[in-house]
């Protein structure tokens, strides 16, 4: 009985460890962040993952914009060819760039096209910041 109990406990312990490993994997666990939880802005890269969104957020923060808007080209879902706004880009940018706020009337426009009829203020990879007056 004691051997049976011992084997059962070992079996349960293995299942627990495997499940905890799975949970940490699904939660984007990274040893890189261990004991760095107190640092400002940490985790955004692994949390968002999308390079384009990260570039947009970085550009907004770098220029210290209080308000911005996103160009229609960026918000069009090119994958599904839909005219509705690209939910993922829109939402992640709004969340990641806050306290900078999204405003339809802002003169600062974030775009991925290089030929907008406005003054180009800054650029990060394929993302451009324009000032449209």
């Amino acid at each position: 009985m004691k051997i049976l109990k011992f084997r059962f406990i070992i079996f349960i312990s293995i299942i627990i460890l495997v499940q905890i490993t799975l949970i940490s994997h699904r939660n984007s666990f990274s040893f890189h962040y261990l004991f760095k939880f107190y640092q400002n802005e940490i985790g955004i890269k692994n949390g968002i993952k999308n390079k384009k969104i990260l570039d947009i957020i970085s550009l907004i923060k770098k220029n210290n914009l209080s308000e911005f808007r996103i160009s229609n080209e960026l918000l069009t879902d090119n994958v599904h060819k839909q005219s509705k706004i690209h939910q993922k880009i829109f939402q992640r940018v709004i969340e990641g760039s806050y306290p900078s706020k999204y405003s339809k009337d802002s003169k600062f426009v974030i775009s991925d096209t290089n030929n907008l009829n406005c003054k180009k203020k800054d650029q990060l990879n394929q993302i451009y910041l324009y000032e449209c007056i």
């Binding site: 059962f8 962040y33 261990l34 400002n40 802005e41």
Partner: protein
């Protein structure tokens, strides 16, 4: 009899008091006056509670500490957590006062949802003097600790400890650490069942302390403030409790003022938020129930919804565990089914009634919300994406019932 020690109750009451005071002061004065003060107090009482309970509940507390480490080493990634709870927390953190909280709301972040958990997240961010994607979501673990301690205290036998582990590791999974509030809502709903179940045990031992009543008060307040569904759960559990123990109504009178007081904070929030927005999220989702009848008569949808509620990993695990344990109390021969008297005891009837009532109410809500213009415009969106998540309190109640059955079993001494 699972009557908890007064020291445990008092410890948890102080824990709850700090968290609630922080929220209440912010709500009343609309200013982040004491965020830093309370963040230090809450972290200290959190560490003290872990250390104090470690010796008694080594297994559960060790797993909880592991979860803390995972949470502190992983960024927020899931939609609900990132786009609702932690985004609202970020707004609270950066805006100078509650007055400005409603000034900026994209269409999707449900700004009128209760801010109890976001306020705690924003409070935690104050201690690191900045915002990041990791530390603010630790608030869910801070809230999860008290129910887990109580649950680990009632799970004395090896098998019930195993059921509790199944609940944490296979039902809640990452939901307990990823910044979403569904797992803590489920934990507080079963904590309320446990505390109410013990109400008569406390009376019997002639020890109805003030602390026991206060913890019930805090439990209902937290349950209602975590998420709107919490109010429905609290009312369902309380109605089931009063119905089951209706013959002892004179003893229950002391609970009535507590219940009334407990609903004041959520009512105040509803009144306040409704003055700031045009239509509430819940109102948009349910549309006054105008789609209920047409959805109910849509056989394909009902079949789909029932399938999504019953056939998912969490429900399957929960039902297998429950049937496996429950079967011990039932014997079937050719002519009749015999039940052990134990499974018909009032505390079990209270549990079954809570499970059935909440399942029915939640199903009605899901039927009403199908086709809402407020949702993503996909067929059966709510049924497809939220069935397992919304039913987390039901899963938890079924497993709590399994724990009660194991703990009350005289024969289940395997690995005891």
């Amino acid at each position: 009899m699972n009557v908890f020690k007064l020291s445990t109750i008092n410890n948890l009451n102080i824990y709850f008091l700090f968290i609630f005071s922080n929220y209440f002061i912010y709500f009343c004065f609309k200013e982040k006056l004491f965020f830093l003060f309370f963040s230090i107090l809450i972290i200290l009482v959190f560490l003290f509670t872990i250390i104090k309970n470690f010796k008694e509940n080594k297994l559960i507390i060790s797993i909880f500490i592991l979860f803390c480490l995972i949470s502190l080493s992983s960024p927020v990634a899931d939609w609900d957590a990132r786009s609702i709870w932690l985004f609202n927390a970020k707004i609270i953190f950066f805006e100078s006062s509650l007055g400005n909280y409603f000034s900026y709301s994209p269409y999707y972040n449900h700004i009128d949802y209760p801010i109890f958990v976001p306020v705690l997240s924003a409070t935690l961010a104050t201690i690191i003097n900045g915002w990041n994607e990791i530390f603010p979501k630790f608030s869910t673990l801070i809230l999860a600790l008290p129910p887990l301690i109580i649950l680990s205290k009632i799970s004395k036998k090896f098998l019930s400890k195993l059921v509790l582990l199944i609940l944490i590791l296979f039902i809640y999974e990452k939901r307990i650490i990823n910044g979403e509030v569904d797992a803590i809502l489920a934990l507080y709903s079963i904590l309320l069942i446990e505390l109410l179940k013990n109400f008569f045990n406390i009376k019997k031992e002639n020890n109805p302390s003030f602390g026991h009543l206060i913890i019930i008060l805090f439990n209902i307040i937290f349950l209602t403030l975590i998420k709107f569904e919490g109010s429905v759960i609290a009312l369902t559990i309380l109605a089931s409790f009063f119905f089951t123990y209706r013959d002892k109504i004179s003893n229950l009178k002391v609970l009535i003022p507590i219940v009334i007081i407990a609903f004041i904070p959520i009512l105040l929030w509803l009144l306040y938020s409704n003055t700031k927005i045009d239509t509430s999220s819940a109102g948009q989702m349910l549309s006054g129930g105008e789609r209920f009848l047409s959805n109910l008569l849509d056989f394909k949808f009902i079949l789909h919804l029932v399938g999504k509620i019953l056939i998912n990993k969490q429900m399957m695990i929960v039902l297998i565990v429950f049937v496996f344990i429950f079967a011990k109390y039932i014997s079937v021969n050719m002519y009749k089914i015999n039940c052990d008297k134990l499974i018909l005891r009032k505390e079990f009837l209270f549990c079954y009634l809570s499970i059935i009532n909440y399942s029915v109410i939640l199903s009605i809500i899901m039927i009403m919300s199908e086709g809402s213009t407020h949702n993503v415009q996909q067929e059966y969106f709510m049924a497809n994406t939220a069935s397992d998540r919304y039913f987390a309190p039901v899963h938890s109640m079924i497993l709590l019932c399994s724990i009660y059955l194991i703990e009350n079993s005289k024969k289940a001494r395997l690995f005891n």
